[in-house]
Subunit: 347 residues, 2 copies
């Protein structure tokens, strides 16, 4: 008789609405929120339910953080860099040009104090941040003409999202904000010269290779973009500790799971794209070097005026220096050897 | 009045013992089982408890799978390749020479049908397999003298574990089975010429650099070793679905979390080792090529006699071919550029 109320209290019926910033068509990214939701429901015998809604159904994709901060919905699944216009510090929870790769992001977030540092900032926005997905290094987009040097980027009209555009314009690109569905006709008509989206699996569905066949890499502005589940801070604090733990485990599982999903889907899509006429090209070194310098200049400008940004960016940079020292040793040499075998058709 | 029994039934008090194959001193690997246990306990308000025991306390580390299969303990946290002597198929749940790297293992396991394929086999052993941790590419071990070519490996007495030894002996190495605590004195006395352990973080603690300073890479026999939680199959089947879901999410979270932990700890340890006198050396190409050929020959021999092994290995190989095609594009070029910046002290 005593035990029942305690159990009932520990497992209350709670339903939250989670607004995604993504359409269902981006099934891998949208799917990370569904993976999280499934884990949460299963782990609580259906007592704690996260209802995931695609962008636009409850709230437009780019207003997700505002809606959660205001408590209109309890949580969102989003890319925090969408909201860099409110404060560039938002971008550090997702990706900034030449930032940490996926393994480094995870190491910094879970063991390098990253989650706590980010939440110091996000709590000021009435948001609680939990990593929830990663795409890995993205591709550098589709171009109607070849890019042989930095000169070819001058005045190039390119669909490129958010914070990256701020760096891209420093090297001569004219960034354009265009929604996913409008990119193909814009490229076809030549209203724009280039467009970046995600990587082989998502890009294939939109068919860009038919109108802008040069497919450049790497996407230097998205080395390890981390998606996030952001929860209204008051709602987070009201949650029973067991449910907080369930969400933490579910987001952590979904975080790795989304990367695994892309790693399974991208190779096949890449082969299909190349068979369909996509021309793979590495960015020229002068493009990468100029972009790298432009990024550093951008960070210096922001850091001079924004202590929250500076504190988190400095932590990421310190982590990155050592991480890329170690990454050159065992991992890189193993992968290099295996790639040589792949090229020799020995795998 | 109706609800209380249903809830009580759904959240029964269950305590399992989990025997680890590792000592507490390997805190990162041992820690993955603790991470899993913590998530499970928190998610069930303490109703489902996994008590993790270090190797030797309940069961010797190398008898973990037998003990779980027999039901002596409910579960273990282990490296399934320890049990390759029972059947080489065990090794495919962890690592085989020139196998999948960490991202590829995760993609294959969670999206390429890997977990189900492995469980087809593990269920015949009365075990249920759940991925639970990864070290990433390991180092190639500590050598008293430099290895300048394959000739220098002939007759070399090396502490190298399990299945890898089967391939190593094909290229002239004389594999030695030596427990962790006995490696240092054996190297010091010259009873052995070389020894592999894990990577910078774990290797530093055992001090090998003082007696065998040449530290080779990459560990070609361990490209992405996956640790596993293996559960007695009857115990797994008896578990309420919600608790199965809790374990699945907890192991999936711990799987990524352990990699993040190593990625945070290895860079610092590497710097300390080099400062202490460790001499980093890449394996000569003829060593890697001979080892690769020896590995393929070994797989062909085993596959000819063991259909379960062949089925799983063929699936991993098919996955690997496409994965290493895609890995050469965005990820590799991004990392390469960043490593060049790291070497130029620009990060």
């Amino acid at each position: 008789a005593l035990a029942a109320p305690a159990i009932a209290q520990a497992a209350p019926k709670i339903t939250w609405r989670v607004t995604s910033s993504f359409p269902k068509a981006l099934d891998t990214i949208f799917g990370a929120a569904e993976t999280m939701s499934k884990h949460v429901s299963e782990a609580t015998d259906g007592n704690f339910t996260l209802q995931v809604f695609p962008a636009g159904e409850l709230v437009p994709g780019l207003e997700a953080a505002d809606a959660v901060s205001a408590g209109t919905v309890e949580a969102c699944h989003t890319a925090s860099y969408y909201f860099w216009g409110k404060d560039p510090t938002y971008a550090l929870g997702c990706a900034t040009p030449f930032g940490l790769n996926v393994r480094q992001m995870n190491a910094w977030l879970y063991y390098g104090g990253g989650i706590d540092l980010l939440n110091e900032f996000f709590h000021t926005q009435n948001l609680h941040y939990l990593p929830c997905g990663n795409t890995g290094v993205q591709m550098g987009g589709w171009y109607r003409k070849e890019i042989n040097s930095l000169a070819d980027l001058q005045g190039l009209k390119m669909r490129i999202g958010g914070f990256a555009g701020k760096v891209a314009e420093k090297i001569g690109i004219v960034p354009q904000q265009i929604a996913g569905g409008d990119i193909y006709p814009s490229l076809e008509k030549g209203t724009i010269d280039a467009a970046e989206w995600v990587g082989p699996y998502d890009d294939e569905k939109l068919g860009f290779y038919k109108v802008a066949p040069y497919y450049y890499y790497p996407g230097w502005w998205e080395g390890g973009p981390t998606l996030a589940t952001m929860v209204n801070l008051d709602k987070w604090n009201e949650l029973p500790p067991a449910y907080q733990a369930v969400i933490r485990a579910a987001t952590e599982a979904a975080n790795g799971n989304m990367m695994a999903s892309y790693d399974q889907k991208n190779p096949t899509a890449l082969k299909t794209l190349v068979a369909g006429g996509a021309q793979l090209r590495p960015f020229p070194q002068d493009v990468l070097s100029a972009a790298f310098d432009a990024a550093q200049a951008t960070y210096a400008e922001i850091s001079a005026a924004n202590p929250a940004f500076k504190k988190i960016k400095d932590s990421q940079d310190a982590f990155k220096r050592d991480a890329y020292l170690w990454a050159q040793i065992a991992e890189y040499n193993y992968d290099t050897f295996m790639m040589v075998q792949q090229q020799a058709a020995k795998l």
